[in-house]
């Protein structure tokens, strides 16, 4: 018996969720294509988990419409939706064996015992745990429990598979492996998956598309490259990849290249989709830490004179805290052989790649 796929799309239309006076999710609209893995990313309290739970049916929208597979599911409770979820705590039933856990959804759904057991075995096989069926969850390691939770959610052949910060209880090394495994499985089965995390690196690694949320609303939706290269506002620029935000002035644009004045320097900023919509005038320049190059020579060309306040050796790279006329800057340099010592004054140049214009 194999696990089939019923992937379906998800659509939110103007969905709001209120708790009394507080608004957890405010007028959110998006759509997720069938077969995509989409990540809800944002700082804690931004509404991403509430959004996920509304897809599951564990929270009810206060207003708006939720469609799954083109059908209106807004008022349907979790029980009646074909959506399963992998919980942050895994939520394995401690009084059932691994096999019973995986078969649970099938059994309560009315499948015959033998058939359910067979299908559960197929599910466990899929996550590489076929030999562990008779154990109790407490006898498995964290990573194995995680796989059981995934298998349990998969065997129901859900239209949408939800992940609520699934890796947050694992150590760093295992996290990387599980992240790849989840992505492989999702692509192999063509599942529609929604994945919640606050870890931007994890989001960039696994997602087809990312929905960045902040303060109950969607900040930006896009592919990982989109979000990293073309952030729409200062929040996204800073939250994904980190950025030095510098006050600047947009003084002209032509052929997809914007001209920006920063202090005394004038910079061309390429690929400025966002900047194309901006009126001339005050903007913010978002500079990735690794786009700042430190040069020993002082006072030439478009460079900005900076003083190294702090230099930290991290093995693969150096981290610098810089003081300049533009404010404090944060830079990363892979040159660990000849680091710039703290206290010296050097020139910082901005590489073409990694500098963006966002609205103020």
């Amino acid at each position: 018996m194999s696990i089939a796929t019923n992937a379906a799309g998800v659509e939110f239309r103007n969905v709001t969720r209120r708790y009394g006076q507080a608004v957890a999710v405010n007028d959110v609209s998006f759509s997720i294509r069938a077969g995509d893995l989409v990540t809800l990313l944002g700082p804690s309290g931004c509404g991403k988990t509430t959004t996920l739970r509304m897809i599951a049916g564990l929270e009810m929208a206060s207003s708006g419409t939720i469609l799954i597979g083109g059908k209106d599911m807004t008022r349907l409770p979790a029980t009646d939706r074909n959506v399963t979820m992998v919980f942050q705590s895994y939520a394995l039933f401690p009084h059932m064996t691994v096999a019973e856990n995986v078969a649970y959804g099938l059994v309560v759904g009315g499948m015959r015992k033998a058939e359910a057991a067979e299908k559960a075995a197929a599910g466990l096989d899929l996550v590489g745990l076929s030999r562990y069926g008779q154990r109790l969850p407490s006898e498995l390691s964290g990573g194995q429990q995680q796989r059981v939770a995934v298998a349990r959610a998969l065997v129901l052949e859900p239209e949408v598979l939800l992940f609520d910060e699934p890796l947050s209880n694992l150590d760093a090394k295992l996290r990387r492996k599980m992240r790849d495994d989840i992505r492989d499985l999702q692509q192999k089965l063509g599942l529609t998956s929604v994945y919640v995390t606050h870890d931007q690196e994890e989001a960039l690694a696994v997602s087809d598309r990312i929905i960045v949320m902040n303060r109950s609303v969607i900040a930006q939706i896009g592919t990982p490259t989109d979000l990293y290269r073309r952030p729409r506002d200062r929040f996204v620029a800073d939250f994904i990849g980190g950025a030095n935000l510098i006050e600047a002035e947009l003084i002209g644009r032509a052929d997809g290249v914007a001209t920006v004045r920063v202090g005394h320097a004038v910079l061309p900023v390429p690929d400025a989709d966002v900047a194309a919509d901006l009126p001339l005038g005050g903007v913010l320049l978002a500079v990735r830490p690794n786009a700042i190059r430190l040069r020993a020579e002082v006072g030439t060309g478009n460079g900005v004179p900076v003083t190294v306040r702090k230099a930290t050796y991290l093995g693969s790279h150096m981290e610098y805290g810089l003081t300049s006329a533009l404010g404090d800057l944060f830079a990363i340099d892979t040159n660990v052989v000849n680091p710039v010592p703290a206290g010296t004054t050097v020139t910082a140049r901005f590489a073409d790649d990694g500098v963006m214009v966002v609205p103020r």
């Binding site: 979820m85 009084h95 309560v108």
Partner: protein, 729 residues
């Protein structure tokens, strides 16, 4: 889910048209008209026997049918169910209370509508079923309108719990209030209420300036304050010894905490009489050695204070253990690294953190003492307290329910006041530092002075307690304690004799009847208590709905209602139509269920809070409904808590006295009431033999269950000992 509302509609009709509407209690026969049709259902009775007020129920019943006939998502469907059910329920209740055995219950109604040709009896099977059906129709309607996330099960459960609490807690208490103001002519008179509430023998203060006794309120409050203080001090001493010293026999101290559960409350009094009564061991010894003449000093304040302190110290001990354990050792270690000495650490860190817990223990002792009935009854002598006054106002020569009710109101007010204070205190001043994470660290030793004081208080008291229990167990084997100490099995034979007659085994002992009734009542009430308690706990912990705070408050409020008040209120409320239960076993069971329910709720809440909510949610996302989730996930995980809850309900049903003593009848006599009766007759031998048999039986039950449950845990802490052992007062 649609067929479930259809089912309730059908059951509503069954109760209305097919089953006997009135109960067949004795009072019913006198009003039953001749020739009632098919078992006297409401439909037949209303149409054929002139009880026209039953006929309008057809309207809400038809509304239910209309709702079910409508298509599933028709907007009128929930409204019809809701309005139909609510109107039906309301009409049934209103007509039930408005029309009694002899027509209108209130003369005002008769004047308004003219006299009725006949009255009606108490609700029977049909009425109960129809009302239940109306209730669930209403809740289905609510759920259909989107309340409780549209979940019919939750809505129904809330409705059920609310209605039962209203019927079996608040309605009786309401009867107490109204009958305290009974002006004699059946009407409510504020003047009568005022007169009763301010009677001089309740409030007078003349013990302060002449040698007469004070008002009963002052007696009660003084006794309760003293008991609260003493039990708190002793409990603190015990807790410090048990938690903060290297004392070896901690197991023995722990045993102390089990004793109040398995001991009927008045047993301590019996033991104290064996020691200090006129023929008590100590009294006789003193007379022999020092020529002190035996006297009856123990009957009165000293005796009651002594027994209450003995009886309630274990409860204070339990509370204080929680408090002392709750202080994270790291705080005290921090104080010590900041150069505080042992004594300074205790004074500036440990003690201030314990203070709210100490206040809590005091209030619990205060409430327990106020509500205690058995000890003052046996040892009170001329020292009247509220609970015994209430009892004698009902059963004694006075037979004045109005006075009993007035005293009940005062007692209730005192208990609720203390309960309110306790809640407030706990709510705002709790410093409990125990979190999910273990707090590593070793608690520092106690300062020498404190340690000596704790040992010097706790050890003698513990020894004293164990001696008393020893006396009880031994006393049943002596011929006549103090006068003739020869050993005999006479009392046990008297109580538990078995003979072999020509028709087989004959339960010839005098105690068998009450013992069997007791076990039956306890056995029936335990599962009900556990079920109601766990369902309420589930609603409180696992569901979110509007008005949840009020819901929790009402369920816990019954915790603070003293047993004597409950007893009186049940008599007042349930000895007449529409709900007539006095003299039945049902009233005993109901009373015990609703008195023990809060304990069961606490235990359920404690256990359920430890089951992560994501387990339910994952079950829901996997396609299981609420009921399936409860059955397959929550209940299996709660199994240890359920077993414990069952056992404690069972044991407590057997040992309770204060409420049930009002409700027992010759056919349904309970063990505790029987023993108290023996004591009042002066038959100490049998009473003591029976008590010790009960104690041993209960102890065995608890030990057995702890053995069984203890081994079936699945690696998580299950029930809160404290929650289980707190008693309703």
């Amino acid at each position: 889910m649609r067929h479930s509302s259809a089912l309730w509609v059908v059951l509503g009709w069954v109760g209305f048209a097919l089953l006997p509407w009135f109960s067949s209690a004795a009072t019913q026969l006198s009003v039953n008209p001749p020739g009632a049709g098919l078992a006297g259902s409401a439909l037949i009775d209303g149409l054929a026997n002139g009880r026209w007020w039953l006929v309008p129920l057809l309207v809400p019943l038809t509304a239910g049918v209309g709702a079910v006939a409508l298509p599933r998502h028709h907007p009128l469907h929930p409204w019809l169910l809701l309005v139909g059910g609510a109107v039906g329920l309301l009409w049934t209740v209103v007509q039930g209370f408005a029309i009694g055995l002899n027509g209108w219950s209130w003369s005002g109604l008769a004047a308004l509508f003219g006299p009725l040709p006949q009255g009606q009896g108490a609700f029977g099977l049909g009425a109960a079923l129809t009302m239940t059906a109306f209730l669930f129709q209403t809740t289905s309607g609510f759920a259909g309108l989107g309340c409780m996330k549209g979940d019919r099960f939750t809505a129904g459960a809330i409705g059920l719990v609310l209605l039962s609490i209203a019927l079996f807690v608040f309605l009786p208490v309401g009867f107490v209030l109204s009958s305290a103001g009974d002006g004699g002519a059946g009407g409510f008179s504020p003047l009568a209420l005022w007169t009763r509430l301010t009677a001089p023998d309740i409030w007078r203060l003349n013990c302060l300036y002449e040698s007469r006794s004070c008002g009963v309120v002052w007696n009660s409050v003084f006794l309760a304050t003293m008991t609260g203080l003493l039990t708190t001090l002793l409990g603190l001493a015990f807790a410090l010894v048990a938690v903060r010293t290297g004392f070896r026999a901690k197991g023995l101290l722990r045993m102390l905490t089990v004793l109040p559960i398995i001991t009927p409350p008045f047993v301590i009094s019996l033991a104290v009489i064996l020691l200090f009564g006129r023929t008590g061991t100590v009294t006789l010894a003193l007379a022999d050695w020092f020529g002190i003449p035996p006297s009856r000093w123990i009957y009165g304040l000293p005796g009651v204070l002594l027994t209450q302190t003995l009886a309630f110290t274990p409860i204070a001990f339990l509370v204080m253990i929680g408090v002392v354990q709750g202080i994270g050792p790291s705080l005290e270690e921090a104080a010590q690294t900041l150069r505080a000495s042992l004594w300074v650490t205790f004074r500036t860190v440990t003690w201030p953190m314990m203070r709210p817990g100490v206040a809590n223990a005091f209030l619990i002792g205060f409430i327990e003492s106020l509500a205690d009935f058995g000890n003052p009854l046996i040892l009170g002598g001329n020292y009247d307290v509220l609970s015994t006054k209430i009892y004698f106002a009902v059963v004694g020569a006075q037979n004045d329910p109005g006075r009993a009710a007035a005293l009940g109101i005062i007692l209730l007010g005192l208990c609720l006041g203390a309960f309110w204070l306790q809640r407030r205190w706990l709510g705002t001043k709790s410093y409990a530092t125990v979190s999910g994470k273990g707090d590593n660290g070793v608690p520092p030793a106690l300062p020498t002075g404190v340690r000596v004081a704790a040992f010097a208080t706790a050890i003698p008291w513990a020894v004293f307690t164990f001696i008393l229990y020893g006396m009880v167990l031994f006393g049943g084997f002596t011929e006549n304690w103090g006068r003739n100490n020869s050993l005999t099995l006479r009392h046990y034979r008297n109580a538990f004799d078995l003979t072999w007659g020509e028709h087989g085994l004959i339960w010839a002992g005098r105690a068998w009847d009450s013992l069997f009734t007791t076990i039956q009542v306890a056995g029936l009430s335990a599962p009900l208590t556990a079920a109601v308690g766990l369902m309420t706990a589930y609603l409180l912990v696992r569901q979110r709905f509007a008005g949840q705070g009020a819901f929790e408050f009402f369920t816990m409020l019954s915790f603070a209602i003293p047993g004597t008040v409950i007893g009186v209120s049940y008599i007042l409320a349930f000895n007449q139509p529409p709900v007539e239960l006095t003299g039945t076993m049902a009233i005993l069971i109901l009373c015990i269920v609703f008195r023990n329910m809060p304990v069961s709720i606490r235990a359920g809440v404690a256990a359920m809070s430890q089951i992560d909510r994501s387990l339910d949610e994952s079950s829901l996302t996997l396609g299981a409904g609420n009921l399936q989730t409860i059955r397959r996930v929550i209940l299996p995980l709660l199994r240890p808590a359920i077993v414990a809850s069952l056992v404690y309900s069972f044991v407590r049903a057997i040992t309770s006295i204060s409420a049930v003593i009002f409700l027992v009848s010759p056919q349904h006599e309970l063990a505790t009431a029987y023993i108290v009766g023996r004591v009042e007759q002066g038959d100490f031998g049998l009473a003591i033999a029976y008590s010790s048999a009960l104690i041993v039986l209960m102890g065995a039950v608890i030990a057995l269950i702890q053995l069984v449950v203890g081994e079936r845990r699945i690696g998580r802490r299950t029930t809160d000992r404290l929650a289980l052992q707190e008693k309703p007062v």
